[in-house]
């Protein structure tokens, strides 16, 4: 792919030595720099959401009944700290974040952060189910397609990938509900419960990641299988499968690991839609509730919270990548 360096697959010993050397200075510097960038990104997100939300005007109007007097309005405004200058509000908002205070939900009358934590296990369950589904299908499919390139199996994998990437999650979900819940009565159409409830939402959410991973694994493995070291390994008498497993896959896995990390973000984004389709009581549905209720402190907290997860996932992927592939230039 991007790195067209044709090196032999570094033997385990070499790799360890390289890793040790990098771990000394360069890698540490790289990690520190990435952490610094991450903090900067989160600061920007916090700032942007704060001012974006303030653009909508006065939440007090929305919270009180139309019969409220001006005094009542002012009292509530003072209680929420909305009568202070914007810059003071902004600073106290940032200060609150540092103390773990993400504000109070206007609709639920609870700390926004607690609400998110309440819903988080459901989303984690859904996202893990989706990722497990994606990997179980994508890894064999990608390998078969790459090894039997041009075969009927390959074509069907490529076609499935294309359809998977072109179909919005909510439509997949609705079709699955129609077939497996409405017509066959095999699985529940929504809600959360046992494993049965997880199957359809997990497939729905995981389909896109599955397509991405299968596609990337296929192209990455095809690249690797064309390399000289594969021929060397074959000519030294290893079986075709051994070569694929010990050499091809090991190197083809790198970009795949990156995309798996990045998919965590798209799973979270996609969870908004999937949870809506299946009435899954997770953070995604909380997001839609916050938006439809115009619950701005909660929206603000969710955006920030999801960004933290997403950005940290990216950070971990980058660091893992630098560890795994010494060729990655760290500058």
């Amino acid at each position: 792919m991007a790195t067209t360096v044709t090196t032999q697959a570094p033997a385990a010993g070499v790799r360890r030595r390289l890793g040790a050397r990098l771990a000394g200075g360069e890698l540490q510097q790289f990690i520190l720099r990435r952490i610094g960038q991450t903090i900067l990104v989160l600061f920007c997100v916090a700032t942007i959401t704060f001012f974006l939300v303030r653009l909508t005007g006065d939440p007090v109007q929305a919270m009180l009944p139309p019969t409220a007097t001006l005094d009542q309005e002012n009292a509530l405004r003072a209680q929420l700290g909305l009568n202070q200058p914007l810059i003071i509000q902004y600073l106290s908002y940032l200060g609150g974040i540092l103390h773990g205070d993400f504000g109070q939900s206007l609709f639920f009358h609870q700390p926004a952060f607690d609400l998110i934590l309440d819903r988080l296990p459901a989303t984690i369950e859904l996202a893990s189910g989706a990722m497990v589904f994606a990997l179980i299908v994508a890894i064999p499919a990608g390998i078969i397609a790459a090894v039997k390139r041009g075969s009927a199996a390959d074509s069907s994998v490529v076609a499935t990938v294309l359809v998977g990437q072109s179909t919005p999650a909510f439509f997949v979900g609705i079709i699955l509900i129609l077939v497996f819940a409405v017509n066959l009565h095999w699985l529940p159409a929504g809600g959360m419960g046992g494993f049965n409830h997880l199957i359809l939402p997990a497939i729905t959410l995981g389909l896109y990641s599955m397509a991405m991973i299968a596609r990337l694994l296929r192209s990455s493995l095809i690249d690797q299988l064309g390399e000289d070291y594969i021929r060397t390994a074959r000519s030294k008498g290893l079986s075709r499968w051994q070569v694929i497993r010990d050499h091809g896959l090991q190197n083809a896995a790198l970009p795949v690991i990156t995309i798996i990390g990045l998919e965590i973000g798209s799973l979270l984004g996609g969870a908004i839609l999937t949870e809506q389709v299946f009435s899954w009581p997770g953070v995604g549905r909380l997001t839609v509730e916050a938006i439809t209720n115009r619950d701005f402190p909660l929206m603000q907290a969710i955006v920030l919270f999801l960004s933290v997860i997403f950005v940290v996932a990216n950070l971990v992927v980058d660091i893992a990548y630098a560890f795994l592939d010494p060729r990655v230039r760290l500058s």
């Binding site: 991007a2 990104v41 072109s166 179909t167 919005p168 439509f171 095809i222 955006v303």
Partner: protein
């Protein structure tokens, strides 16, 4: 987008310019060799055919639509498609919960999808290309600034941002277009930048400079023709992504106003009646899939044609 970001996002990005094998001969017969490649690719032909059909349907919606998409007929609610017993003559794909004709609404929904898909793509394409060319050409501080910005935006779940912005600004067609457009420039900027990085050191640019061309002349006369191929590829694929994004917003009820028929909005309505009236959700969803699938197939073909080595 994610694939692009992975490819362009590897840390050794400056060196990742996809090697364009001497572009000169291909450009002379670009159009003809494209048609030749198309003739060999039956799937792409079908996809292109569907795409042309979808565009024509969108343009001529008022002429071909059998009914007014907003006309309600509460006596004839939830009537099935014409081949199912109990159907109402004339309503080929049945009626929805307000007795509106599903086919007519899908036909009109084409307009929103195409308008948002193309307009948001053009907007993000223009922004991304300008940033990419400037960054690749001048490098330095401006390059670092915009590439960092691209990192930040790529590192952010964009649908969330789009949701918040759309709600804050009150949903309208133009807000949706602008929000999606501002969220999509990064993949263009990265790819175009790396193309320009390699182009600027090529002999023909040096030669142009030697005969006295200034920066703007070089950018328009010598850089521009050479970035059209990657631009067309990303653009095509992005139209599909934008159509899906618009449908997602409409599905959540946060896209264009609900009075305008959209595929995503129909899906949301259809889901409520999925047990009794499957046709509302199924046909509007099929419209999305058919459109995005044919765009993606066309885009893949363009990409293979422009750079057979890049992906397989």
């Amino acid at each position: 987008m994610t694939i692009d970001s992975v490819v362009a996002g590897t840390p050794d990005e400056t060196e990742t310019t996809i090697a364009l094998p001497s572009t000169a001969p291909r450009q002379q017969s670009g159009w003809r060799s494209f048609l030749k490649a198309l003739r060999k690719n039956v799937v792409a032909q079908i996809a292109l055919g569907i795409l042309v059909l979808v565009v024509l349907v969108g343009i001529f919606a008022p002429l071909i639509s059998p009914f007014d998409p907003a006309a309600q007929d509460l006596i004839h609610r939830l009537k099935p498609p014409i081949w199912v017993p109990g159907a109402l003559p004339g309503h080929i794909l049945g009626t929805d919960d307000l007795g509106r004709d599903v086919l007519s609404r899908i036909i009109y929904g084409t307009r929103v999808s195409l308008l948002v898909g193309v307009a948001a793509t053009v907007l993000s394409g223009v922004i991304g290309t300008v940033i990419g060319v400037v960054c690749g050409f001048y490098r330095g501080k401006i390059d670092a600034l915009f590439m960092r910005l691209a990192d930040i935006q790529l590192a952010f779940p964009t649908i969330l941002l789009a949701l918040v912005v759309v709600v804050v600004l009150a949903p309208s067609l133009w807000v949706v277009i602008v929000v999606l457009g501002l969220n999509g420039w990064m993949s263009y900027a990265r790819v175009i930048r790396s193309e320009v990085l390699s182009l600027r050191s090529r002999d023909f640019v040096t030669a142009a400079r030697a005969i006295g061309d200034n920066d703007v002349q070089i950018m328009f006369r010598h850089i521009r023709p050479n970035i059209l191929a990657p631009l067309a590829t990303i653009g095509t694929l992005q139209v599909a992504a934008m159509i899906v994004a618009e449908a997602s917003l409409s599905y959540l009820g946060l896209g264009v106003p609900p009075t305008i028929p959209t595929w995503g909005g129909m899906l949301a309505e259809g889901q409520l009646y999925i047990a009794t009236a499957w046709w509302i959700a199924v046909f509007s969803g099929l419209a999305i899939v058919l459109t995005t699938l044919s765009i993606n197939v066309t885009g893949d073909m363009l990409r293979d044609f422009a750079d057979p080595k890049a992906y397989r």
